[in-house]
């Protein structure tokens, strides 16, 4: 991955007005076994503010499993994760207070509109947003005329955009993204790319898996999950 000629000052400089304080995520000696198969053994890495970590590996190498471990959804067999030096399990509000996760599923309710979906989830995550902010974010992601429609009427790519809007509005320093570019058209890939750059510039951290080479400016590292010991 290289620095590409990116448009300076992307379309999404609005959602990240002030930088995050410098955080640090460290993972030490992670061991995970799924269905008798060792996915990774003694995985150790750390991530500083403003860094992007791309998790690579072939299908079934355990990329999604790793992301779920980092989110705290899956418990590793061994190893420890620390957030700013504090073991994640001992944080007051668990891992949820500092990360936003975008998984395979968009986590949208079919019967609610895009705006209602985002509003309820932002409130649940403890960062309520004014309706104007939600609408302008949806507008920015090209969903301007669709904010009031039930999500079930949207296409797969449009649903993914709604999920992205939620990610951007949650204002968490650590983003954990599972295949964020899947089902998006070229235009939205560009918007997301700029959002990722803006997030890194604001000292955010990103851990993602992707099969697409997407050039993002900023410090990047790649973690390749091997053949499983």
């Amino acid at each position: 991955m290289s620095d590409a000629a990116a448009v300076p000052g992307g379309a999404l400089d609005a959602p990240i007005p002030q930088p995050f304080p410098a955080h640090c995520l460290a993972v030490d000696g992670l061991v995970l076994e799924r269905g008798e198969r060792l996915l990774f053994n003694g995985l150790t890495f750390s991530l500083e503010a403003g860094e992007l970590l791309q998790v690579a590996g072939r299908n079934g190498a355990g990329k999604t499993s790793l992301l779920r471990v980092l989110c705290g959804l899956t418990r590793p067999m061994e190893g420890e994760m620390t957030w700013n030096g504090v073991p994640v399990r001992r944080l007051d509000d668990g891992p949820g207070g500092h990360l936003a996760y975008l998984g395979h599923h968009n986590a949208l309710k079919d019967e609610l509109s895009a705006e209602e979906n985002i509003q309820s989830q932002c409130r649940l995550h403890g960062c309520p947003q004014a309706p104007e902010v939600v609408f302008s974010m949806l507008e920015e992601l090209g969903l301007g005329g669709h904010a009031d429609l039930p999500v079930k009427l949207l296409s797969q790519g449009q649903k993914r955009r709604v999920a992205l809007a939620r990610l951007l509005l949650l204002r968490r320093p650590l983003w954990i993204l599972d295949e964020p570019f899947a089902a998006l058209d070229v235009q939205v890939i560009e918007v997301l790319r700029q959002a990722l750059e803006a997030h890194l510039a604001a000292r955010g951290m990103i851990i993602l898996t992707t099969h697409q080479a997407v050039p993002v400016r900023g410090t990047q590292r790649t973690l390749t999950l091997g053949t499983g010991a």
Binding site: C71, G72, L73, T74, R75, D93, G94, P95, G96, G97, L99, Y101, G103, H104, H105, N106, A107, L108, K109, D110, E111, L112, E116, Q119, S120, Q121, R123, L124, H125, G126, P128, P150
Partner: protein
């Protein structure tokens, strides 16, 4: 604290809104309750005295089965679309979030059963006091059904044939509520006070209210691991 309250209210509102937009789910439960209770007179004959003595048991067993019907979807929808993962990732205590989901479930499925029970009680020849005690017992008992049922719903999440499995797991656990609830109406029918039964039912409600949310939260964490 207020952020927590706001988050809990947001979840309650979301679930109630979803129930409003999918009214058929709640109506099926209510319809099932009414139909099952109405089938009994057709099966055992129209003898008023017989119907009256059977009424508490019939109403309670029907309420129990109607509740079972709605349990499978309690967490399954959220599980399927990924909302449950996000719920686990919110910085709010999971047992309280679970409690809100159960409150929404009870408001949509349990409360309508309580409200329609006088009509069905009259249909089975219960008198005024008996109906009042029946409603009181259902008001205390249906939340227990939702709370205990949610444990089963959590434990069978993502399994094939989860609905049948919930019934097998949960119906035995409904026995205490069934005995107290039907017993309260029986007691007043035979001229004694229903207080003992109602007090025990209330105690059971407090007990499940305190323990079930933690059990369900643990079940959800295990099923999503």
């Amino acid at each position: 604290m207020s952020a927590l309250l706001r988050a809990l209210m947001a979840l309650l509102r979301r679930d109630l809104l979803l129930a409003m937009r999918r009214r058929q789910d709640a109506l099926v439960v209510l319809g099932f309750f009414v139909v099952v209770v109405s089938l009994f007179p057709l099966g055992v004959g129209p003898d008023p005295q017989l119907l009256r003595s059977m009424a508490p048991g019939v109403l309670w067993v029907s309420a129990l089965l109607a509740t079972m019907l709605s349990l499978e979807r309690l967490f399954a929808d959220d599980f399927r679309d990924g909302s449950l993962e996000q719920l686990l990732l919110t910085p709010q205590p999971l047992p309280l979030l679970v409690l809100m989901k159960i409150l929404a479930h009870w408001l949509v499925t349990g409360l309508p059963l309580v409200l329609i029970s006088p009509l069905l009680g009259m249909q089975l020849n219960l008198d005024g006091t008996e109906i009042a005690v029946l409603m009181m017992a259902l008001l205390l008992g249906t939340p227990i059904l939702s709370l205990v049922g949610a444990i089963g719903a959590g434990l069978t999440l993502g399994l094939r044939g989860g609905g049948v499995l919930i019934s097998l797991l949960i119906l035995p656990l409904y026995v205490p509520a069934l005995i107290m609830g039907a017993g309260a109406v029986d007691a007043v029918m035979y001229g004694s006070s229903p207080d003992a039964h109602l007090s025990l039912l209330a105690a059971l409600l407090i007990f499940t209210l305190l323990l079930a949310p933690w059990a369900i939260a643990a079940a959800l964490r295990i099923m999503l691991d």
